[in-house]
Symmetry: C2
């Protein structure tokens, strides 16, 4: 739009004639004058219109006029409107949600059912501005360390990677599946000679849960790296990633973080994240609950995070040395313990990773231990027939990370259009 | 790996003891000595081993020794190996492909059937290094102009966006579909107040073609922007994107481009891309083929590109003002001509875009003209019930763009794991 400036640029245009474009957030009629709060992608600005009525809330307008200083206006400046142009008018009588109200007063189900409208709440929209910054700094950090971004297929011909459910689809009359992860592909790309790869892509779990921590479709931040010696290097790498993201958010989203009272971990705190064996983690849980712990369940993840906050000053920990039966067949191991780890952040597992078996014979033996057949993973096995370096990797759930960075109650709040047991739209 | 350096770093370590890790590309036995060409992610290096035999080709090794200058060695330096460690051995007797050979001598079908191995050819792997750089500069350019990256669901509950085929899947007993594009979601995000969004995500077409220009799963670089006045601004934006990508590639991939004899368009050339109406484009084709042209088919795209190269010095053009029946129902129009465009680059359509209808009533009328029902697109229609700015956007096919930037014959060469009519694996 010619002459358009944004709401946060008024101060640079005092006494000039400019145009603001955006949505009518709300308006207040004072007889011959109407005060309009206009909302655009940078925030809000006050318009003063010489007319007794203006358009409905959520109308899209272009307002041209002179910028004047007014200490009482939000931001200290307002636009004295000479010309008001309607670009688009809401046609629904009453909107199902009041965007100038407080989204906290609306239930999550109503927010998700009216997603195209609820994303207009600035407090909701900004979650996805934060998420975009997470994506930016994840990719930037990986690239700076020589990782190559890959894009692997999500439609796959056979699905035997792990124990979780698969969505099936009809591929020209043949059955196909949606990938749970790019696990096999990212390992193949390490072995192809790229050595270091990352992928930002969708992952699918056909599991019938409906919890505040699960999605049936989510974005996985996948990392895989060759020529490393052990899982300690992977945990170091994850700390580097988390630090880059937190630093990036402090830099680009400080206003959002302050408004939400979010304090992100410092570099020093991230480096203090404790690393416990699975057995040690169970013992800590047992000491808290005064009974035997057989696994690390969601309550256990919360207790462990609390313990880490008290003992190490950061509500996060790595758990390593999981028993083999708790991890996929391809996980590297020493005796009965795998060389794998989880990262639990603010009470929620955000990452699973580990070293992978890279010798063909070891992998064959692992298959039979897991009651799997060679033919189930025939393509995958070829990676190891051709010479494959020692390697490992991990995946961070984008929505879980966003949820925890912003202290959101439910993972669906961190997902534009969540897919769950009952939600296929919008 | 401790003390590891990369093959292109030998020159900085003369007379030092270092370790190189990688794959045995080939070896040459000279009696008491063996020369090994080691391949790592940065290239090749020569190893001199005091032994008459070494491991098979494609074995993964760590070689420790002293760096010495040798003008006859590739790069001018070599490693005098004191210790050679085998990290992983190929188990297959004869590999189906010879990685130190020329992939051009192998047919595309064999390359794709043996994808986990064929990606080891440096000339094939580097295609995906280029693709990663395309992704980087696309995202960077968008972010620098205030666009927010979004991630929308690919599983959708109803699929009525356009005329192309949809893959159907079983979503907990209900039918669902794989999205052809994030079209509705990106429009919703503009209307949510983000105003400017981009998405890098998978797109699905259940079309039974098997051509050098089609994939059933591909990566779409999607852009949508509000508060613009017309499609000219969209074409300007695309030129900016293409320029940022070409500049980035010249900066980061100059060796690859030179080795492949690729010359990318300059900024000046990109700004000279002609913009023709659909009618003008048909007339140019007709003058070449001396008969009536009823549409712009693949041969037409080639002829038009050739024409643009001759007349405007760049093998690319925009075609705008398509008739309404050739574009989706949501396309903005004036009379019988839509405000939409394609970008044809080096003989191939790489982009479709345009202004969108942003008035609810106009959209309702368009639905009936396209024999569609309100209930088919009920969620989508709500976007326009709540006040929506004028907006438009486009999508660039990542694989098509990569293909054309590198002058590849077939789009599958620009896809790690292509999905086509007959290809579901690896």
């Amino acid at each position: 739009m010619p002459g358009r400036i944004l709401s946060n640029e008024l101060n640079a245009h005092v006494d000039q004639t400019v145009t603001l474009c955006g949505w009518i957030h709300r308006s207040r009629n004072l007889g011959v004058l109407t005060f309009v709060i206009l909302r655009d992608r940078q925030g809000m600005a006050q318009l003063v219109c010489n007319q007794s009525t203006v358009y409905n809330n959520e109308s899209v307008i272009a307002a041209t006029g002179q910028v004047v200083a007014n200490p009482k206006a939000p931001g200290g400046f307002e636009l004295q409107v000479a010309q008001l142009k309607l670009l688009s008018s809401p046609t629904a009588g009453d909107l199902p949600l009041t965007i100038h109200g407080d989204p906290a007063s609306v239930g999550l189900n109503a927010l998700l059912a009216n997603r195209y409208l609820s994303l207009r709440y600035p407090a909701i929209r900004e979650i996805f501005i934060v998420q975009a910054v997470v994506l930016k700094y994840f990719a930037q950090y990986m690239r700076n360390r020589g990782f190559v971004e890959i894009k692997s297929s999500k439609i796959i011909g056979s699905g035997t990677e792990g124990g979780t459910g698969l969505f099936t689809l009809d591929y020209f009359g043949e059955p196909a599946f949606l990938a749970q992860s790019p696990q096999f592909y990212k390992q193949a790309m390490v072995a192809s000679g790229l050595e270091r790869v990352f992928e930002i892509g969708a992952a699918y779990r056909a599991e019938k849960h409906d919890t505040p921590r699960h999605l049936n479709e989510y974005v996985s931040l996948d990392v895989e790296i060759g020529f490393i010696e052990g899982e300690e290097e992977l945990m170091d790498l994850e700390i580097g990633i988390l630090n880059a993201i937190c630093r990036g958010l402090r830099q680009e989203c400080s206003t959002i973080l302050e408004r939400r009272h979010i304090v992100l971990p410092t570099e020093q705190e991230l480096h203090a994240i404790p690393r416990l064996s699975y057995q040690e983690a169970l013992e800590i849980i047992e000491r808290q609950v005064h009974s035997a712990a057989l696994e690390i369940n969601p309550e256990g993840e919360r207790l462990l995070s609390q313990w880490a906050a008290e003992k190490h000053g950061i509500e996060a920990l790595f758990v390593h040395s999981f028993p083999r039966k708790k991890r996929p067949f391809y996980t590297a191991f020493e005796g009965r313990r795998t060389r794998s780890f989880d990262c639990i952040f603010r009470g929620l597992e955000i990452t699973t990773g580990g070293m992978r078996i890279h010798h063909y014979d070891t992998l064959l033996a692992a298959l039979s231990k897991f009651n799997m057949q060679e033919k189930d993973v025939a393509d995958y096995l070829t990676i190891f027939k051709y010479g494959c370096p020692p390697h490992g990797g991990f995946a961070i759930g984008l929505e879980r990370l966003t949820q925890k960075l912003l202290n959101l109650t439910n993972i669906k709040e961190a997902t534009l259009f969540p897919r769950d047991r009952n939600r296929l739209r919008p």
